[in-house]
């Protein structure tokens, strides 16, 4: 993307006032989004994100500057700004870059932005028709069709020079059901680290119907009664609770600050003994996968918790310097506008041995959360709050009537210990995870799990 001599001069400049480490990240990204509602293609935008970030470390301090101007002069100006803020006595002599070839473990059949807009719009219309055809109560369908091709180049003072090309494809569907006075939403957003072949692999009719079904079911449901209940959280997006309430607390960003309940717990039992949790960037073409992280390190499969015992944090370069743990290829960022930080990839709870039906049968009165919505967690304390997007009562060991408006609240560390059964139907779902280094694609996932007691906020 840039001439090697220019890259070397920029990194040398960043080191020129003394530093422990310097890095240049360059990005050229093409984005395309089609926004569709009212059964029409409403908005259609393409664009080019283009810029570079220069980062310098001294001690535990990270300095970062970015610019959209990739001329040598502008890059040297940015490098000069970061070097002047660095106060290290460490002097690194001029660097010599060695280009590293990456192994592409996520092959692409049809690169993004090579298919005509008409094909994409035909796909979208099938989703729309299927959703509206499901029920007269469907009053609106919103669809966003997104493609992104990100080309990155990373060079650093350790001599690394590496480039990679990343294709992302995703469609987000939100069906709204209305009975005149009230409205409920059903949404799904499947995506892959892949090209257009992904869209060919999914059935638009099923996607439309599935979202419509949730919206209609919830519209015709009663409010959930408030109280403490045992809860079965099903697979797929159910994994969002682990992601938010535990995953973020296992990132070295939180660990190094002491702002995590898992500080100092390495090797200790922190969860139900049947629980194994993994963060894996190597799964071919999964939404949160990569070849290399945004610090240029090959991605890895990292076992976070094994049989209830804490085995690893998610570690980026600065996190490694601060905590002493080895890097796990977890340095990620949204774009050149962000310095990288330790982040999740495809994070999931591994399959257990319990049968789903046995789990439901074990509950006299409780909640079955078939689909979770989003949620949030208080940093530092681990208190969480999640909406149930599709919920049912469990009565006498059977799934009973649908209920709406349920919110699960609890504490991450406590909930991990209250898990008592884990099924074998692991599935993942796609999300965008927002944190210090921006919004990045991540998968959440789990098999169905049973939590013995959780507060359910409802209406009555």
């Amino acid at each position: 993307m840039l001439n090697r001599n220019i890259i070397e001069r920029v990194v040398d400049k960043a080191l020129s006032n003394g530093a422990d480490f310097a890095e240049l990240f360059v990005e050229n990204t093409f984005n395309s989004t089609i926004a569709f509602n009212d059964s029409k293609t409403k908005q259609n935008i393409v664009g080019n994100d283009y810029g570079a970030g220069v980062r310098v470390f001294y001690g535990h301090t990270a300095i970062y500057a970015f610019t959209n101007d990739l001329s040598e002069e502008a890059l040297l100006t940015a490098a000069d700004a970061v070097s002047k803020a660095a106060k290290s006595k460490n002097v690194i002599a001029s660097i010599d870059l060695t280009e590293k070839e990456i192994t592409n473990i996520h092959p692409i059949d049809i690169p993004n932005n090579t298919i005509s807009k008409k094909d994409k719009i035909d796909f979208i219309k099938k989703v729309d028709e299927a959703s509206r055809g499901y029920s007269d109560q469907i009053s609106q369908v919103d669809i966003r069709f997104m493609e992104k091709n990100q080309h990155v180049m990373i060079a650093n003072s350790e001599g690394l020079l590496v480039e990679d090309d990343r294709n992302y494809s995703r469609v987000y569907v939100s069906s709204i059901a209305s009975n005149g006075t009230e409205k409920q939403v059903g949404g799904e957003g499947p995506g892959r680290f892949a090209g257009y072949e992904f869209f060919k692999s999914i059935d638009p009719v099923k996607l439309g119907k599935d979202t419509a079904k949730v919206a209609v079911t919830m519209l015709n449901a009663d409010y959930v009664p408030s109280g403490k209940y045992p809860v079965i959280i099903d697979n797929g997006f159910g994994g969002v609770i682990f992601h938010e309430a535990c995953g973020h607390s296992l990132e070295t960003t939180a660990i190094a600050k002491g702002a995590s309940v898992f500080v100092g717990k390495m090797g200790e039992k922190i969860a139900y003994e049947g629980l194994t949790a993994i963060d894996d960037g190597t799964i071919p073409n999964e939404w949160g996968s990569e070849n290399i992280d945004d610090e240029g390190m090959a991605t890895k499969k990292t076992i976070l918790i094994e049989n209830g015992i804490l085995k690893s944090y998610m570690v980026d370069k600065m996190g490694s310097i601060k905590t002493g743990y080895a890097r796990t290829g977890s340095g990620r960022r949204q774009s050149y506008r962000f310095a990288p930080a330790s982040r999740m990839r495809n994070t999931y709870i591994a399959n257990g041995n319990d049968k789903f039906n046995d789990m439901i049968a074990s509950i006299n009165e409780g909640i079955y959360a078939a689909k979770m919505g989003g949620g949030s967690v208080s940093p530092g304390t681990g208190d969480f709050n999640f909406a149930v997007a599709e919920g049912y009562m469990i009565r006498n060991g059977k799934i009973a009537e649908p209920v709406r408006g349920a919110t699960l609240i609890g504490n991450g560390a406590e909930a991990l210990l209250k898990i008592s059964m884990i099924s074998n139907n692991m599935a993942m779902a796609q999300g965008m995870c927002g944190s210090v280094s921006g919004s990045i694609p991540t998968n959440v996932g789990q098999p169905a799990i049973k939590i013995d007691e959780i507060i359910v906020g409802g209406r009555n």
């Binding site: 664009g47 994100d49 301090t61 970061v82 530092g380």
Partner: protein, 443 residues
């Protein structure tokens, strides 16, 4: 600024499009984070981008770039034209040369641009230091941050409109974690200003610590219906969460619960909700919106009666009204509608008096899960909350995290009293503490 870039794009688009609009944003920003009195991170940004919106044969297309060269500028015009071919929108875009406001709001402070970087670092260090000193139960200060930014924007269209705006701001926040036995609570305090001298790190730090220590050792809330006071910050959060119900595009597309309710009483008569693009104390103040349309003070709910929605020129034309100057987009985005300085008008009560009306009142000082537990379409919410139980006007004790649930419109109907402690939050949503007659609490 960027005159040459605008000329290049307009010249290229002239014979190819029916109408062309160019939106440019350029920004410089700085932030510093402190940990254990050391600089943990130090960020500089210098960024710019340019977006075009074109009309061709009655259809609209968009594209943008962050790469500034003549070849790319031509490419984005071509791409926008290509995109327009596939748009099926029946919305009519007519660009105009909208008038200028005579009294431009003051949104730029020259002195703020001249603050020495060492003073900025010192401020963030002081936030951390004072928070640690404020109470021995403080065991961590994970956030001690100072940040500032300066932004320039220019919008022009082929009908002769050409407006530019330069703004700046600075903000700081501090988050303190305190613990007693096994209980940990976080308190966050922020301040945003254009006057660097206004920052009082000691006061901010002490306030953040008090917010966390007050919540320690909470008792479980008893599940039931209670009178509830949202403090000013949380009322602003609630307002912001449901601001989309006033969006005229949502109304026209049938996804707002306010559809068809203009001139109807939809809230208690104590409630007046306003969007004020020219508010002197807001940080979303600007003389024009992202279509170049002049901004204004728009009364949305007046004494409980719905008076207006928030419009851009497209939704306004559909409804046969004037735009309210809420057209919103960044150079990377497509035209939508957003609030500017969005507020519920202050009342006359002292905050403490809100707790005298009922035997028991729950005070909410922290909310969680706004993007998941609140359904902006139905108005239903079920949110994680933290706060206190009050009895007969006295704060009895703090509560363990609980949920509060209800419906936003029912809540606006249930407003019993509004305090006089009006405050804007970081995102220019403003409110005072408000007493609601009844909401569901589960602990």
């Amino acid at each position: 600024m960027y005159k040459k870039e605008f000329q290049t794009i307009f010249a290229y688009a002239k014979d190819k499009t029916d109408e062309t609009e160019i939106l440019l944003s350029a920004a410089n920003s700085f932030s510093v984070k402190i940990n254990e009195q050391n600089v943990e991170s130090f960020n500089y940004a210098d960024s710019k981008g340019i977006g075009v919106r074109i009309v061709k044969d009655g259809k609209v297309g968009y594209s943008y770039t962050e790469k500034f060269d003549d070849e790319t500028f031509k490419l984005i015009v071509d791409e926008a034209i290509e995109n327009a071919k596939y748009t099926e929108d029946d919305e009519v875009v007519i660009m105009e040369n909208y008038p200028e406001i005579t009294d431009n709001p003051n949104v730029y402070s020259e002195s703020l641009d001249k603050v020495d970087v060492l003073d900025k670092i010192q401020l963030a260090q002081d936030l951390e230091k004072y928070a640690k000193e404020a109470d021995k139960r403080v065991f961590n200060v994970p956030y001690a941050v100072y940040a500032d930014g300066k932004s320039y924007s220019r919008i022009a269209n082929s009908k002769g409109l050409d407006k530019e705006d330069t703004q700046n701001f600075a903000y700081a926040y501090v988050g303190a974690l305190s613990a007693e036995k096994d209980d940990k609570r976080m308190g966050i305090e922020f301040h945003i200003t254009r006057n660097f001298g206004e920052f009082d790190p000691k006061k901010m730090a002490e306030e953040s610590v008090k917010k966390s220590t007050d919540l320690l050792n909470g008792k479980p809330a008893e599940t039931g219906k209670y009178a509830v006071v949202f403090n000013n910050e949380m009322m602003a959060t609630m307002l912001a969460t449901f601001s989309g119900i006033f969006n005229a595009k949502s109304v026209q597309e049938g996804r707002s619960l306010l559809k068809g309710k203009i001139r109807q009483q939809i809230a208690n008569e104590k409630v007046t909700i306003i969007d004020d693009g020219l508010h002197p104390n807001g940080f979303s103040t600007s003389a024009f919106d992202n279509e170049g349309y002049p901004t204004e003070r728009t009364v949305l709910i007046e004494n409980g009666v719905l008076r207006s929605f928030l419009h851009n020129t497209i939704t306004a034309r559909k409804d046969g009204v004037k735009s309210t100057g809420n057209g919103s987009r960044g150079y990377k985005g497509t035209l939508g509608i957003s609030t500017s300085n969005f507020l519920i008008e202050a009342g006359e009560y002292k905050e403490a008096d809100l707790f005298l009306k009922h035997n028991k009142t729950i005070e909410i000082v922290s909310l969680q899960g706004m993007h998941s537990g609140a359904n902006a379409i139905s108005g239903d919410f079920s949110l994680g909350a933290q706060g206190f139980l009050w009895e007969h006007g006295k704060r009895k004790h703090s509560l363990k995290p609980f949920t509060v649930s209800g419906n936003f419109l029912q809540m606006l109907n249930g407003v019993e009293a509004i305090a006089d402690n009006f405050k804007f939050d970081m995102s220019s949503n403003g409110a005072s503490s408000i007493l609601i007659n009844e909401l569901n609490i589960s602990g």
